[in-house]
């Protein structure tokens, strides 16, 4: 009799989901799926609201990356106003975007994933968490909290609030920066940089320890999609879309974000509220791509900060330079390179005199009926597309979220891990945790990706060939 195993809810991620593993009569894995089972429907209820409200509304999609929605919404608003925002406003928006990366990546690495790395996949689940981490290395855990705090501090200094700041608006930002705030943030840079380097050193030191596991963590060729700067540098706020295949070939480049719809399609499946974006030229399934840190560090030609660029070269060398790094386990590595980049880049921006300018907002009426904004959220490229009437009232909204763009790859990763580790019909704690850890590589934010709320504990189900649940494990 064939069976299905369900892991529900998946733990130490943001949101609520379950995993099912289908076994055949001999206990071999035939399929595995990552189901996201919450829904909020922001795209629909935003219709009829004023374009000006969208920053405030869409930032409520998420408590982790509200700033990414705020910035991307403001950029869609800039497009509708048809304005080029002042230099100071752009640089301030860039700084807050970097801060968003720092705080979100720090939470992902130190808080959610480090327990696996420092305590082991097979350690006692009762202590394989932030408190176990504290017991193992209190200073490391403290540094992680403080690094996240640094990111939050930048957001609060700029936007007056850590979460859901209404600071960025169509046309620019509401409040200017000043020298006292700049000096305050500059004083925090050395410790943040030191912590980013420490995290990199720690992660690289455990790569050898996990050498047997790593090849199973989503090791497959896919395309990688993200924004790059005009000169090919790592980009986080603006730029054009680049698509790279798993062999490291750039197959599409310098795509204006307004043409994203020509390249990215969205499919749906009856078993998940999370959409399945795909690369249109190759069609659904074949068009699987990955976004986020692994994609960004793969597709860029270089990083324009010295320490992160040196680390990028080490990263790329793992795949022989020409190839893309195709293993999803290295999302963690890429994430830490990005933290280092973000701290270095923030320091560069803070030293830029233009940051203290007072011309921070361009004002205009509704000049276009369609506005598209894109930026690199921590988990990957984020699109906001608004259609408005002549008064700026929204007629249609489309949000394409980074986590959703990784959906096909996350499912592939779950399947790979299940095939590798499942033995017969029994789920062990170690297997359960490895499957969860495969999902955690992507640091999925399901609140964002389904625009749904809630936490994401783990639930695994084992089903027989008739679909009856024969075994279940919850955490």
């Amino acid at each position: 009799m064939s069976k299905t195993i369900t892991i529900s809810p998946v733990t130490r991620i943001e949101g609520h989901a379950k995993i099912t593993i289908q076994l055949d009569e001999r206990g071999n894995v035939t399929d595995a799926r990552f189901h996201v089972n919450e829904f909020r429907g922001f795209e629909k209820f935003c219709e009829g609201r004023l374009m000006w409200e969208m920053g405030g509304i869409t930032s409520r999609i998420c408590g982790i990356c509200p700033t990414s929605h705020l910035i991307t919404s403001a950029k869609a608003g800039d497009d509708i106003l048809a304005v080029t925002i002042p230099e100071t406003a752009e640089k301030l928006r860039r700084l807050i975007t970097l801060a968003q990366w720092i705080q979100s990546h720090a939470l992902s690495f130190f808080h959610l994933s480090s327990p696996d790395f420092l305590l082991g996949f097979d350690s006692d689940p009762a202590t394989r968490n932030i408190f176990g981490l504290i017991t193992k290395d209190r200073e490391f855990a403290r540094r992680g909290i403080r690094l996240r705090k640094f990111g939050q501090e930048i957001i609060e200094v700029l936007g007056s609030r850590k979460i859901h700041t209404p600071w960025a608006v169509a046309g620019g930002v509401r409040e200017p920066f000043d020298a006292a705030k700049r000096d305050h943030l500059l004083a925090l840079i050395p410790e943040a940089k030191e912590t980013a380097l420490l995290a990199l050193k720690t992660l690289k030191s455990i790569h050898q320890e996990f050498a047997a596991d790593i090849p199973n963590f989503g090791s497959f060729r896919s395309m990688f999609v993200g924004l790059v700067a005009p000169d090919g540098a790592l980009e986080y706020y603006d730029g054009t879309i680049r698509v790279m295949d798993g062999s490291g070939n750039i197959i599409a480049d310098k795509i204006d974000i307004h043409r994203y719809d020509d390249y990215i399609g969205e499919a749906s499946e009856s078993w998940s509220y999370l959409k399945f974006p795909y690369y249109k030229p190759l069609g659904y399934q074949k068009g699987m791509f990955r976004v986020g840190p692994l994609a960004r560090v793969n597709i860029c030609d270089y990083i324009d900060t010295p320490l992160a660029e040196a680390e990028r070269k080490v990263f790329k060398a793992m795949a022989g330079n020409a190839e893309a790094v195709n293993n999803s386990f290295y999302y963690h590595y890429a994430r830490l390179i990005e933290i280092l980049f973000a701290v270095e880049k923030a320091e560069m921006l803070l030293h830029d005199p233009a940051m203290l300018g007072t011309n921070i907002r361009a004002r205009a009426m509704i000049n276009r009926r369609l506005g598209i904004g894109a930026s690199e959220a921590p988990r990957g490229i984020l699109f906001h597309r608004y259609e408005v009437d002549e008064n700026g009232v929204l007629e249609k909204v489309n949000l394409i979220i980074a986590t959703a763009q990784n959906n096909l790859a996350m499912n592939r990763t779950v399947r790979q891990l299940a095939i590798q580790y499942m033995d017969g019909n029994k789920i062990t704690e170690g297997i359960l945790n490895r499957i969860e850890a495969g999902i955690r590589c992507y640091d999925p934010c399901l609140s964002c990706s389904t625009h749904a709320s809630g936490r994401m504990p783990l639930h695994v189900q084992l089903l027989d060939c008739e679909g009856t649940v024969v075994s279940e494990l919850r955490r």
């Binding site: 733990t11 130490r12 991620i13 943001e14 409520r60 408590g63 982790i64 939470l107 808080h111 959610l112 009762a126 968490n129 932030i130 408190f131 504290i134 017991t135 209190r138 855990a141 403290r142 909290i145 403080r146 996240r148 705090k149 939050q152 850590k162 979460i163 859901h164 936490r455 994401m456």
Partner: protein, 161 residues
């Protein structure tokens, strides 16, 4: 002198759920030098601020009581409430204790009765009244006119509410 931190949390876009934030913002206005924090949700960085305090008072809206409730909070003994980005008071106290070796000697949770938590930025009349009452009590705590112990005696527990 007792070092106190007041932390009000909740979602101000969900009607009465924002009562804790509203109370904290009123207190911050009345006592500019006090250590008052108003946040949408409890987050791990608060652990550092808590570590330097003797008394922590969490202000939150609650649908499980019809009157203002004050209860003592202890650090959580399990990871529940201390993972991801949304922490419980017990969870953030546990994180504080784990990271810094100690937590505030006394921690209180003040629950402000809430009944209407739909979309909207206005609070119900009952919650507004109870928010004012909460601000009055915490003001007396900040001025030294009352103590944590008296607060615990004064306001009913959730079971009695």
């Amino acid at each position: 002198m007792t070092k106190t931190i007041i932390i009000g949390f909740g979602n101000t876009l969900r009607g009465d759920d924002g009562a804790g934030v509203a109370a904290a913002e009123m207190l911050a206005g009345d006592f500019p030098g006090a250590n008052v924090v108003a946040v949408q949700e409890l987050h791990p960085e608060l652990a550092e601020q808590l570590a330097s305090c003797d008394l922590a008072v969490f202000l939150d809206a609650s649908v499980r009581t019809s009157t203002l409730c004050v209860t003592r909070v202890s650090p959580a003994r399990s990871v529940h409430g201390a993972e991801g980005h949304a922490f419980s008071p017990a969870g953030v106290l546990a994180l504080c204790s784990g990271l810094y070796g100690h937590a505030p000697q006394e921690a209180l949770l003040v629950e402000i009765p809430a009944s209407e938590c739909g979309f909207g930025e206005t609070m119900s009349a009952q919650t507004l009244r109870m928010t004012d009452y909460c601000v009055l009590l915490i003001s007396e705590l900040l001025t030294g006119e009352t103590t944590a112990g008296i607060l615990l005696d004064l306001a009913p527990s959730p079971a009695a509410g």
